[in-house]
Structure formats: structure tokens, C-alpha cells
């Protein structure tokens, strides 16, 4: 990471563009924009090195509001645009802003391939479990049975669990946060930035118009301690109104235990390790609907591994070819291996 050339310290204001923000009042996107504008100045990156690429949807208007380089691309393709940009410009800090429809429906193919290639690209997926910009159809993350304009009798699609999908697609960094927890979101944005490789950050984001309060159980004072689980590397999985509940693994099955009555101590609980892919998979699959009083919904960094990035491998191949074969002179490329002369 290069330090800014400018001695002046950047502020959140430096990252706000002149364009009027046009999301609906109360939209969770405002909070995300604010947290990004708060964290970016602290990352010690020159502002001109940031490029934010988005697809289509409410979330994808994001680049217009950021005073960085940005591209509002076409539906589902931000991952591919970002890949081409990063492949040719490894020094840029490339962020992708996308939504649940953009990333997982129309862009599903590019999404999985970005994860496996592991370009050093930061993905923030705003998940509101609904199509907002097209005015309220169910999305690939909407819960089954969701009644919307396009599913008046309830949707019959099984939803994606984005974190599980990302892990399955070989993501090297998977995390989840929420629009209504600014501090946690800031920490997750920072972690995404610090990760070398593709980082997938799912952000639960409220759509007050078409899917209001979908995630409120995870943040409301009365329910959040029961419904949410904040994981941290090296720490046991503990939740509950008074931190009285823990999760331990019975074989590969997660079990909720009462720390007060079960006789299980904190040391016996599942200790979260960000590098453990097997456990990350189990954790990501905590996906019960709020109110079931089973497993809580986890937030935080589920998985993080250091793995070669596509653009670095590409550069290395180029470097290696240059060192071993040497750059082929254009004259040699033009002539090829076999020539003959036609005399006058």
C-alpha cells in the first residue's frame, strides 16, 4: 500500500462528490455511503487510486456520490469490468458496489468466477432481499414465500445464502455486516481493504419502500442479542441477552448451549478461526429465519486466507517470460519463423 503523496490528510468530505444523493429517505444505502466516506480517508491511499465500479440497481448509483474514479457499468457485469481493469492496472484500488439482484441473479456467473480468480478487488454487496429500482420484485435472496408484485402468491424460489455461495466459489475473504451498525461496518470495510485478494462483504441493507424492516431483528434492541452473533478471530461464539449462550460443535453440528445451566464452559465453545474453511462453511450456513430461536445469524469475518491473486500471477508470467525468453522484437513477430525472398 502506498502512502498518499499529499501531506494533507484526506477527510470524508474529500470523498463526497458534487452530485445530489438520490436514494429514498431512510434507505440503508445512506449509512453505507457515510461509512465508506469515513473509512476511505483513513486508509492512506491517494484518492485518485480508488476506482469504484458498480452494476445496475439502487446500490449501483454509489460511484456517482464518491469523489473517486468510478464507473456505473451494466447490469451484473461490474465484476468483469473490475477484473479487466485490475488485470491491466494492479496498482489501483478497485472496489465493486453491487446488490443482491445485480450480483447473484444477472451477475451470478461473473460473481463466482471473480471469487475463484481472486483478483485483489473489494466487493460490497448491498443485500436488501428485494429488487428496488424495478419497484419491488423478489430477489435471489428473498425468503421463500415472499409476496411481491411478481409473486402475489408467494415466491417458490429457494433463496441464495450469499456468504455460503461465495465460500463455495472459493472466495478468499467472506464477511457480513449491517447498515444499522456503523462501527461494525467501518471495521468490516477496513478489513476488506486490508485483505489481499477478492474480499466479499455482504451488507444487510434496509429498503424502507419495498422490504422494510427485513433485518431489524438483527439490530433492534429487544431482539438483536438473541438473533445476531458477532464473530471475532480467536474468540468463542457467544450470544444471547446476557451473553449466556454459546455455540459448540457436536461433530459437524453446531449446538446452542446455555453457559449458565449446561455445565459447558467458555473454553469448550467453538473458537472462531478465520483461516478454518470447514468451520467457515458451517458458520456461513447459519441461515435460519429470525424468530426461530435456533442458531443466530453471524456477522463479522467468516473466512480469510492468503492466496495468490490473479493479477500478480499474470504479472509474474509476463516477468518470467521476459526474463527467460526476452521480449520478442516486433520485426521478428512480423516475419515469423519462415520467410523467403522474391528477387527482382
Amino acid at each position: 500500500m502506498s502512502a498518499p503523496l499529499s501531506t494533507e490528510k484526506l477527510t470524508p468530505k474529500d470523498f463526497a462528490s458534487s452530485q445530489e444523493v438520490k436514494w429514498c429517505p431512510g434507505c440503508g444505502d445512506y449509512s453505507i455511503l457515510k461509512q465508506v466516506q469515513t473509512v476511505f480517508p483513513e486508509l492512506e491511499v491517494e484518492r485518485e487510486k480508488f476506482v469504484i465500479v458498480s452494476g445496475i440497481g439502487c446500490s449501483s448509483r454509489f460511484p456517482y456520490y464518491m469523489e473517486t474514479y468510478g464507473m456505473h457499468s451494466i447490469h451484473g457485469r461490474a465484476f468483469a469490468v473490475a477484473s479487466g481493469l485490475k488485470a491491466t492496472n494492479p496498482d489501483l484500488h478497485v472496489w465493486v458496489v453491487t446488490g443482491d439482484g445485480d450480483a447473484l441473479s444477472i451477475g451470478g456467473n461473473h460473481f463466482i468466477h471473480l471469487m475463484r480468480r481472486n483478483f485483489d478487488i473489494k466487493v460490497m454487496m448491498f443485500n436488501n432481499q428485494i429488487y428496488g429500482l424495478t419497484k419491488g420484485q423478489y430477489s435471489p435472496t428473498s425468503e421463500k414465500g415472499k409476496q411481491t408484485k411478481s409473486t402475489p402468491y408467494g415466491s417458490i424460489d429457494e433463496p441464495f445464502n450469499p456468504a455460503e455461495l461465495a465460500l463455495g466459489a472459493k472466495a478468499s475473504f467472506v464477511a457480513r455486516t449491517l447498515d444499522r451498525d456503523p462501527k461494525h461496518m467501518q471495521a468490516m470495510i477496513r478489513r476488506s481493504h486490508e485483505h489481499k485478494g477478492t474480499s466479499f462483504l455482504e451488507i444487510y441493507q434496509n429498503c424502507p419502500v419495498f422490504n422494510d424492516a427485513a433485518f431489524f431483528p438483527f439490530t433492534d434492541r429487544e431482539t438483536r442479542k438473541e438473533e445476531s452473533l458477532f464473530v471475532e478471530d480467536g474468540m468463542p461464539l457467544i450470544f444471547g441477552q446476557n451473553d449466556e449462550k454459546g455455540i459448540k460443535l457436536d461433530g459437524l453440528t453446531p449446538v446452542v448451549v446455555d453457559l449458565n445451566s449446561s455445565g459447558v464452559s467458555r473454553d469448550d465453545l467453538w473458537i472462531h478461526k478465520e483461516g478454518d474453511k470447514t468451520k467457515a462453511g458451517i458458520l456461513a450456513r447459519f441461515f435460519e429465519q429470525p424468530g426461530h430461536h435456533g442458531l443466530p445469524r453471524p456477522f463479522g469475518v467468516f473466512y480469510s486466507e492468503v492466496r495468490a491473486c490473479y493479477e500478480d500471477d499474470l504479472d509474474q508470467q509476463i516477468e518470467h517470460s521476459r526474463n527467460t525468453k526476452g521480449k520478442i522484437p516486433l520485426s521478428k513477430i512480423l516475419s515469423g519463423d519462415r520467410t523467403w525472398v522474391i528477387a527482382d
Binding site: 452530485q19 473517486t68 457499468s73 451494466i74 468483469a80 469490468v81 479487466g84 522484437p329 523467403w340
Partner: protein, 622 residues
């Protein structure tokens, strides 16, 4: 070897051009045989043109008609424009090959068959009627038929060599090649060198193939079957250094050259598709030159990754064939809105849908012209011959970089795999390509950078992300004039649509005027062509002119915008004929734009025009 004593009365026949068709099963190595014959022929100084034709299936069941793979080479002491309508020599390695390709053998032509490929099983697989035997029933009496058991002759040549039956069988194409080398007075040495290099790590196979090659040559020399050798003198080609090149190779090389001359790294986003994949293969070899190839997960990622690379300042390219171009259309509209450089290569094939993947067609012109939603004109250039691919792609790179617009390059399957001798340019002969990255704020009032402020060519600035102080956003939403901010203003939209169109029209200022390739301006009939019909039209028109007819040929490289004088020059002719390997596309554009009653000539068989087909149509119009 060629100087062994002549044991019999050998006739040496002088001829100015010959067409040979090597035909066999997909596994018989006919493509390699054809290419080796071509290489030696090129080095000998003949002009030539080739046409490889292979099935879409990688290995259709052996011996079937579906599995026939052919390679046609036309060479001569005169200028050669096409791979030839009819062949003089047909090599048929099995019954299916004979059945598939006999139709285009000229009267009294030579047939060399491998009798081992004509047993009962082979005849049945080739769907000859029960009991029929084409080699013995007199049906080939009006040809000169040579029946050789090539399989056995090849085996005999390996006496004492410890090679497997399979390897013996696989060397039989070298026997044929050796025989053809003898027949046309060509040395085996070039192919020997090739075999030595190819099998340098397998000395036994090397030995086997060289033995078969020499045995074939010596068979012609000693077996008293062949009474004629053919002498084809060197062609009178412009002096210089030549190489042989296929269309796809020339496209790849042209891109590398344009990258070096513009000082930009080349990025190719591509998804494998026949017949365009060879461009991806070729470019992937040039890592040492900084060429970045990205085999994308699909056609859409292929083009959008290229858009990302272009945004970052690379010479970005995507390559595809018809079905892939269809998938790229939304992204093409996006790149039109972004006004960034992007080279889109479409190697056309038979359509619609999966169509005829390995056959040729020119049916994507209308899609290239209009295949985007909204008003989204793009410049289009088309390649005429394999060697022409180089100049045309270089021109496409110039247009895309200097005019900040995506460019579509139309090639087709016939050119992609076909080859011809190419008098390649010296590096210093290549025109420079000017690229300017903006690094200073262009706003006269010192306010925000104006990302859509244009120069006199209506070209907007290209800014690399990472440039301090010029941070800005671009995207697919309509842009406000000059500022580039999102705008839904009705008048602004109309203005921007017109500006984008005018920008493409202005490219006509920098392209050469249309001129006759053969014949004279104002001739009775003008044949107007584009793309791979070049050779067939050229051949037909040249012959007619030689016969005293008043005919001309114009061939278009630039299909959008057209050369500025095209309407005027066309109006000067008596009649205009437009042959196309489609159902009539350029003819519609010409009629619509210039109100000229141009006459279509169409062939939609997945095959190029025969020269005679065009010639006879022109004659009817004279």
C-alpha cells in the same frame, strides 16, 4: 534425390496454376499435409491461396462422410486470388473422402486414392450402395485414377523399424505428401526439417515419417505408373521478403504491432469460439511482450473485462464469432456510451444460432451496423484476405484509439483459416498511432474536470484512473454534454445522440476514398464487394477484363462510415453488382444510402463463391 536417373519417358507438363485437394478422415492428417505442401510451395516462389475445410466434430466416427477433412491449395506462376473453384488433383484417403469431394474435381482431373480406405466397411460408411465399387465400376473413367495401397506402401517403407502399427498408419499422409512433392517437382527437404523439429524427442517416429515421405517421393520416381510431372514456374510477385500467414494469425500480429506503435499494453478478453479461438491462442504466446490475455467465463465477461482494461488505458480487444457477438451487444452499447476505445473482432460463421460453426458466412453485417438498442452507431471495417487482416486490424486500432469509439472488425471463417503469402511490412513502415492521455483539467473556468468536452473531431478525453485531480464518474446513463454528469434532459439526449453519430461520421475524413481495384471508373458493370469475396470477385473481374469486357471491381474495407466518395463513384457505373455470402446485406445499405439500384448476388451455403459463379452473373449483366 530429385536427380536420380529417369528410367522412362516422363512428360513434364508446364502449367500456370494447379489446385490440389487433400481429402481424408479427420484422423488422417490432411490439414498438416496440406500445410506442409503449402509451405514448400510458398518457399519455391509460387503465389498461392489455401482453404482448409474441416468438420465441426473433432473426430467424427472414422470413415464416415461427417468425418471428412479437406485441405485445398491453389498455387501458380500467375497471381492467385482464391483457393480455386475446381481441383486438378484430388487425394482421397478413403471412400468417404472420394464421395464428399469428387464433385469439384475438374474433368480429366487426377485422383490418387488409398485403396486400403476402400474396403467393404469403408464403402458402407461412405454410404455407397450395396455392391457398388467406385474404383472398379468405370464411374471414374473420365478422370485419371491412380489406385495405390498407400497403407501397405507406407508399411513397406518401414521395414526393420520398430514402430507400432498405429504409428505406421499415421505416417501414411507423409507418403502422399512425398508423392505429391515428386509430382510437382518440389523438394522434400523443407518437410524433413519440419519432421525433425516436430519429433525431435521421438527419434523413432521421426525416422518413420521421414521414411514414409521419401518412400512417397521415390515411388513417383520409380514406379512406372505416373507418366507426368508438372512444372509450375515461379510467380511474378513483387520483390521482397515473404511469409505465409493465416487470417487469424495476421489479426493477432496486427494487434501486437498496434500495441507497440501506440505504446499501449494489449489486453484481450475472449471466450473460446470457432473460428475465432486461434486469435486468443496466438496472442497468448506473447506474454514476454506484455500482451495480457484473459480467457473469460463467457462472452459478456470477455467484452466487459476489455471495457475495464480500456478504461484503465490499455489497447483492449475482444474476439468472437456470430453467437458471441450477439451476447456482447449490450456491452457494445455501453462502450458506445462510455466513448472509450475497444476493438471487437467478429470472425463470422454460418448462422443463425449455432448454425454452421466451421463454415463461412458474411451474415453479421447488419448486426454490426444496427445490433444494439438505441441509436448506437459504430465504425466497421472488414478484412478481404488473410494477409489483409494485418492492415485492416491496424487501421481498426488507429480508429479506436484516435476517435475514442469501439470499432467492429468483420472477418470470417474462410479468411480466418485460409492462408496466403504475405509481403510483410518492416517495423519502420508502420504508421504511428497517436494516443493522448489527459492529465490536466480541461475546464477553462477551473471547475470540475469535463469528461465529455470534445475536440474538433468530437473526441472526448481519455483519462487513466490514478491521474490526480481528474477524478470523475462515467457510466451507461445518458451524459450531460461536456460535464459527463447524468442527465435526463430531453434536449440534451437528442444532442448527445447526434453528437455520437457525427463523431462516427467524422471518421470518414481520415479514410481513403473508394477506388477501383480492377477495371476503370464508369465501367459498364461494377462489382462491389466486402470481406472474403475479394478473391472470387478479383478473379472473375480480371478474367473478364482480359477477355475484353468493361468491368470494374471496388472492394470496401470501411463499411461504416463508407468512404466519402462512394456514392459518386458508384453512380458513375452502368450497373452495380454486390455479391455476398449472405441473403443480401451490403446491398440494402447501399440502396438505402445512395438510392442506387444495386443488384444482389447471394450464396448462403457456408461456402465461398466460385469465380465462375460471379463471372457468369456479370456476363448476364453486360
Amino acid at each position: 534425390m530429385e536427380t536420380t536417373a529417369v528410367k522412362r519417358q516422363l512428360e513434364i507438363k508446364e502449367t500456370d496454376s494447379v489446385v490440389i485437394r487433400f481429402s481424408g478422415d479427420s484422423g488422417d492428417g490432411m490439414q498438416l499435409t496440406g500445410m506442409q505442401f503449402t509451405d514448400t510451395t510458398a518457399i519455391l516462389g509460387n503465389d498461392l491461396s489455401t482453404f482448409p475445410e474441416f468438420p465441426a466434430e473433432i473426430r467424427a466416427p472414422a470413415g464416415t462422410l461427417a468425418g471428412v477433412s479437406g485441405f485445398q491449395v491453389h498455387f501458380g506462376s500467375k497471381e492467385i486470388f482464391t483457393p480455386g473453384d475446381k481441383y486438378d488433383v484430388l487425394v482421397a484417403m478413403n471412400a468417404a473422402a472420394l464421395k464428399a469431394d469428387l464433385k469439384n474435381l475438374r474433368e480429366h482431373g487426377v485422383i490418387i486414392v488409398n485403396t486400403a480406405g476402400f474396403d467393404e466397411r469403408n464403402l458402407k460408411l461412405a454410404q455407397y450402395p450395396e455392391g457398388a465399387h467406385p474404383l472398379d465400376d468405370g464411374s471414374l473413367d473420365h478422370y485419371r485414377l491412380y489406385k495405390l495401397d498407400i497403407s501397405r506402401l507406407t508399411k513397406d517403407s518401414m521395414d526393420g523399424l520398430e514402430v507400432s502399427a498405429k504409428d505406421v498408419d499415421r505416417a501414411k499422409n507423409m507418403f502422399v505428401l512425398g508423392l505429391l512433392f515428386w509430382m510437382f517437382e518440389r523438394s522434400v527437404s523443407n518437410t524433413e526439417k519440419f519432421i525433425q523439429e516436430k519429433f525431435s524427442k521421438k527419434p523413432l517416429i521421426q525416422d518413420a515419417n521421414i521414411r514414409a515421405l521419401r518412400a512417397g517421393f521415390n515411388y513417383g520416381e520409380t514406379a512406372e505408373i505416373f507418366t507426368t510431372r508438372y512444372h509450375v514456374a515461379k510467380a511474378k510477385m513483387p520483390p521482397g521478403v515473404y511469409r505465409n500467414i493465416t487470417g487469424n494469425q495476421a489479426l493477432a500480429i496486427g494487434l501486437i504491432a498496434a500495441g507497440e506503435k501506440s505504446g499501449l499494453p494489449v489486453f484481450l478478453g475472449s471466450y473460446p469460439i470457432t473460428p475465432a479461438s486461434d486469435i486468443l491462442h496466438e496472442l497468448s504466446r506473447y506474454k514476454a511482450n506484455g500482451v495480457r490475455t484473459f480467457q473469460a467465463e463467457d462472452e459478456i465477461s470477455a467484452i466487459t473485462s476489455a471495457i475495464g482494461a480500456s478504461y484503465g488505458g490499455a489497447l483492449a480487444v475482444t474476439t468472437t464469432a456470430g453467437p458471441g457477438l450477439a451476447l456482447k451487444t449490450e456491452a457494445m452499447g455501453f462502450a458506445t456510451m462510455l466513448e472509450i476505445p475497444l476493438v471487437i473482432i467478429d470472425v463470422q460463421r454460418g448462422g443463425p444460432s449455432t448454425g454452421l460453426p466451421t463454415r463461412t458466412e458474411q451474415a453479421d453485417l447488419m448486426m454490426a451496423m444496427f445490433g444494439r438498442h438505441g441509436e448506437a452507431p459504430l465504425p466497421i471495417v472488414a478484412v478481404a484476405t488473410p494477409a489483409d487482416c494485418f492492415e485492416t486490424i491496424y487501421e481498426a486500432c488507429r480508429i479506436t484509439l484516435e476517435h475514442m469509439t469501439p470499432v467492429i472488425v468483420l472477418s470470417d471463417g474462410y479468411i480466418a483459416n485460409g492462408s496466403e503469402p504475405w509481403k510483410f511490412p518492416a517495423e519502420s513502415d508502420l504508421k504511428s498511432i497517436t494516443v493522448h492521455f489527459t492529465t490536466e483539467n480541461n475546464n477553462p473556468s477551473g471547475g470540475t474536470f469535463l469528461s465529455y468536452k470534445r475536440n474538433d473531431q468530437l473526441v472526448r478525453p481519455w483519462v487513466k484512473p490514478g491521474t490526480r485531480g481528474l477524478e470523475h464518474r462515467i457510466g451507461g446513463l445518458e451524459k450531460q454534454h461536456e460535464t459527463g454528469n447524468v442527465s435526463y434532459d430531453p434536449a440534451n439526449h437528442e444532442r448527445m445522440v447526434k453528437i455520437r453519430a457525427e463523431k462516427v461520421e467524422k471518421i470518414a475524413d481520415s479514410i481513403p476514398p473508394a477506388k477501383v481495384d480492377s477495371g476503370r471508373e464508369g465501367a459498364k458493370v461494377c462489382v462491389l464487394g466486402w470481406g472474403s469475396t475479394y478473391g472470387s470477385i478479383k478473379g472473375a473481374v480480371t478474367e473478364l477484363i482480359a477477355e475484353g469486357h468493361d468491368v470494374a471491381h471496388i472492394h470496401l474495407r470501411h463499411l461504416n462510415p463508407f468512404p466519402k466518395n462512394l456514392g459518386d463513384i458508384l453512380r458513375g457505373f452502368g450497373k452495380v453488382l454486390i455479391p455476398e455470402i449472405n441473403n443480401g446485406q451490403l446491398v440494402q445499405l447501399i440502396r438505402a444510402k445512395y438510392l442506387i439500384p444495386a443488384v444482389p448476388l447471394n450464396k448462403i451455403m457456408g461456402l465461398p463463391f466460385a469465380t465462375t459463379e460471379i463471372k457468369s452473373t456479370i456476363k448476364e449483366m453486360l
